[in-house]
């Protein structure tokens, strides 16, 4: 397994957010983490990369327990994270944003260069010197993904990549994610949009109120409309 999460519990202050969350991602797989607003998708991702201070549980990445490592070490193992709020550096140019994400080449992951990323996201190539603050939402979303890819991750946690984007940009996003998959990057993508998830994912987990309540292939999910309707707003 590429990534195995077991018994993940997270707290914000006195509030218990995640309850024994567990799931697996295979080599080269695209797995969707589905759930409504506030179900715990983002907290799950933030917990995995160590941005939530109070968390317990086991996080095995490529056979190594990283649950006690600080954020930057987890990321340097090859576990990339694309945050939900598109936290690009608004004062930095596109190229400088990419520079922050740059990490050395990794033997088991595709090697991304600026030029390769500009080919993947042509819009970015046309605005290399533009400050991140003066880009549209879709362009910012592409930049966050490109920035994480500069770290040559072998697995990427993508937090709601389609949120708030126009249908045309969403299409581009689907293409980009499929290209990443083809290059051999494993992906966990959190989504509310089942249609979008179906276009890219091999398997899906559903999270509701901080608990995983379903896990299976997309076909298995389609065979259970009761679960789909109970836990996902369509």
């Amino acid at each position: 397994m590429k990534l195995t999460i077991e018994g993940l519990n997270s707290h914000y202050g006195p509030a218990h957010i995640l309850f024994d969350v567990g799931f697996e991602v295979g080599e080269g797989e695209v797995v969707a983490l589905l759930g409504r607003n506030g179900a715990g998708k983002s907290t799950t991702f933030r917990s995995i990369v160590g941005l939530v201070a109070q968390r317990t549980g086991r996080i095995m990445f490529e056979g190594k327990d990283v649950s006690l490592s600080p954020t930057h070490e987890i990321v340097r193992e090859g576990l990339g994270y694309v945050p939900e709020e598109r936290r690009i550096f608004t004062d930095l140019t596109v190229e400088e944003n990419l520079e922050v994400g740059r990490q050395p080449k990794r033997p088991n992951a595709p090697h991304w260069t600026r030029e390769k990323l500009f080919a993947l996201f042509p819009n970015l190539g046309e605005m290399r010197g533009r400050p991140g603050g003066r880009m549209s939402g879709g362009e910012q979303q592409m930049l966050t993904i490109a920035r994480t890819l500069m770290g040559n991750p072998s697995l990427v946690l993508l937090d709601e990549p389609s949120e708030g984007l126009s249908p045309k940009i969403v299409e581009q996003m689907v293409d980009a994610i499929l290209t990443m998959k083809k290059e051999g990057v494993s992906i966990v993508v959190s989504e509310q949009n089942l249609h979008f998830a179906r276009l890219i994912s091999d398997r899906a987990y559903i999270i509701e109120r901080g608990r995983i309540c379903f896990g299976g292939t997309m076909a298995e999910l389609d065979a259970r409309p009761d679960i789909r309707d109970a836990h996902l707003s369509l």
Partner: protein, 629 residues
């Protein structure tokens, strides 16, 4: 005309060192969000070490080598400080960081005297820049010209460093979003350490470069840190270009202020700063910030009024305190009165800071105004003591009303700096308006009348007023006004959304706190029999902050305990050792790192833990029975 040109050039030369130190402070703040009070101390150590090295190493190479070596050595000290002290408190509230670095400053002030002695040290002139250049009959030291050229060169180097290197890109990214930088695989720890090292290097370099111009002495840290605060606030925290422009502006204001307004030269700079803060709170070149971290404490621990048992305990403590004159001598009673007065002072700041979330760095202004108010009324109008005590604090009230109106327009670090600036203005007036305030000599002979003259009577008076003030402010915390004030502290926007005029509530709180501090000051004038500009000074403002934080910023009773412990410790230390600042500074740092919740906060935590470890079933069982009754 030539004279003005020379004056202008002198100003530019002074700007160089100021810019170095200010840019260092700005860089450190940008990334770590720590307002490094110890920056002046690093500047001072830089000067001292450079002095020693230049005495040892001869020749031009020795001199310039010494300057750079001194800055590097201090940068190394900075790295140690960052790793040992600051790394532990990055997630603590801003105030704690300021306090920890202030503690460090205190320690350095004593250490420097211990190592280099108390006398001013006059350093070597710079080889190659010993002479002066004649400019239409006026002399310009050639070293000044060197400094004038150095400023832009350093600015250029820093610009290249930040725009053209990977390190610079990472630093700029971290200035905006630290967590995201870590989430991209960058080791924040080393980034912070390196930033701190660069900032300290610049400060120490600024200090080392001063030795051919100025004598090295052990008070140069406070003098520069106030100016540097002004510079970074005018220029914009985190902006290096801003630091440069503001350093030039401030230095020129100083250079020409003395010529044009000799009486108010000190005030001029602070007036400009106040105007800038009001018009552009984030500085000339800074950027508006997202709402700062709100509550001053670490966690939200809801307050409750005292239970009847606790009330009895507080009353008992007061009665025991009131029996002090029965067995204590005059010295102890005077100390007791001073402590009672500082309880008033600390409680007033606590009200503003913990209840209102407005951490003032110039609270002594209102304490001192109260003291001057009494002195004016008693000495000039010759009014009786009771009238003076009642009317004197009104001066503090008026000062708080005027300054508070402007100050509450800001929040967080900028609020702290504006209050500091206002306090410095008041201090400058007291210091420079000699005909009214007596300047440095103060106003003497403000003695209490017969009925309050004996130490025990005065003690009872001070204790009584302290008790009344504490009770009144505490009652206010749990009044509707107190709720509204706490709401503005926790969320300004939401408070306004439910129809509360948040700014007016904060302004009222500021005036209440200022007036209360004035009451303390009024008593203080009678206790000491005199009033000096120091009664409004920065160190007194910081004393008050330390008292509140020491007791525990999150607790309502913390300020009282903090004032008693700090003042008693302070008086005792000064009588015991010449190195009181060293001990006190170490003590402050220890408190911040080990007991960030203060004395009372720690006691509460211990009590809670004991309650939790008591047999688990019993409290649960007890509850239904209680509610059934």
């Amino acid at each position: 005309m030539a004279f003005y040109v020379v004056q202008f050039l002198t100003g530019l030369a002074s700007a160089a060192s100021l810019f170095l130190v200010a840019s260092g402070l700005s860089i450190i703040f940008g990334v770590t969000r720590i307002v490094n009070f110890a920056h002046g101390a690093f500047y001072m150590i830089g000067a001292y070490i450079a002095f020693t090295l230049t005495e040892r190493l001869s020749g031009a190479f020795g001199f310039w080598g010494s300057i750079v070596l001194a800055a590097l050595a201090v940068a190394l000290i900075g790295v140690l400080v960052e790793m040992v002290l600051l790394r532990r408190i990055y997630h603590a509230p801003e105030l704690f960081q300021l306090l920890a670095t202030f503690g460090l400053t205190l320690m350095v002030e004593d250490l420097v005297v211990l190592i280099w002695g108390p006398d001013d040290l006059v350093g070597r002139r710079a080889p190659g820049f010993k002479g002066a250049i004649d400019f239409f009959g006026q002399n310009i030291p050639s070293y000044d010209l060197f400094l004038i050229a150095l400023g832009p060169v350093v600015l250029g180097i820093l610009w290249l460093l930040f725009q053209r290197t990977r390190w610079g890109v990472l630093v700029r990214a971290a200035t905006q979003d630290r967590d995201m930088v870590a989430a991209l695989g960058v080791n924040q720890k080393w980034l912070f350490t390196s930033v701190f090292a660069v900032g300290v290097f610049l400060a120490a370099l600024g200090g080392a470069l001063q030795i051919p111009r100025d004598a090295v002495h052990h008070a140069m840290d406070l003098r520069i840190i106030v100016e540097v605060f002004v510079v970074v606030v005018i220029g914009g925290l985190g902006s290096i270009v801003g630091a440069f422009v503001a350093a030039v502006l401030v230095s020129e204001l100083n250079a020409f202020g003395i010529l044009i307004f000799p009486k108010i030269s000190i005030i001029l700079v602070f007036l400009v700063m106040a105007v800038v803060l009001i018009v552009r709170p984030w500085g000339l070149f800074g950027k508006p910030e997202a709402p700062a971290r709100k509550t001053p404490g670490l966690t939200v621990n809801p307050w409750r009024p005292l239970t009847s048992n606790e009330r009895l305990a507080a009353l008992a403590a007061l009665i025991i305190a009131a029996t002090l004159p029965l067995f204590a001598g005059n010295y102890l009673l005077t100390v007791g009165s001073e402590i009672a007065i500082f309880v008033i002072f600390a409680v007033s700041l606590h009200f503003l800071m913990s209840v209102g979330g407005l951490a003032s760095f110039g609270h002594a202004a209102y304490f001192g105004l109260g003291a001057y108010g009494v002195a004016f009324l008693a000495k000039m109008a010759g009014l009786p003591m009771i009238v003076c005590l009642l009317l004197g604090p009104l001066l503090g009230c008026m000062g708080a009303a005027v300054f508070g109106f402007f100050a509450v327009q800001l929040s967080g670090v900028y609020f702290a700096m504006l209050t500091l600036a206002f306090a410095q203005i008041v201090w400058s007036i007291a210091f420079q308006w000699v005909s009214v305030t007596g300047g440095d000599n103060g106003i003497l002979g403000v003695w209490p009348e017969k009925w309050a003259a004996s130490p025990s009577n005065f003690y009872w008076l001070a204790l009584g007023v302290a008790a009344l003030v504490t009770i009144a402010l505490r009652a206010m915390v749990f009044s509707p006004f107190g709720y509204a004030l706490r709401a503005t502290r926790d969320s300004l926007l939401r408070t306004e959304a439910i129809g509360i005029n948040a700014k007016r509530i904060q302004w009222t709180a500021f005036v209440i706190a200022g007036t209360t501090a004035g009451i303390g000051g009024a008593l203080f004038a009678y206790l000491k029999g005199s009033v000096f500009p120091d009664n409004l000074g920065i160190s007194l403002s910081v004393d008050a902050l330390v008292m509140v934080l020491l007791g525990g910023v999150e607790t309502v009773s913390g300020a009282v305990i903090g004032a008693i412990v700090y003042k008693a410790l302070n008086i005792w230390l000064v009588s015991q050792t010449d190195l009181s600042k060293l001990v006190l500074g170490g003590f402050i740092m220890l408190i911040v790192v080990v007991f960030p919740k203060g004395i009372v906060g720690m006691l509460e935590m211990l009590a809670q833990r004991r309650r939790k470890s008591s047999p688990p079933g019993s409290p649960l069982l007890a509850k239904p029975i209680e509610s059934a009754e």
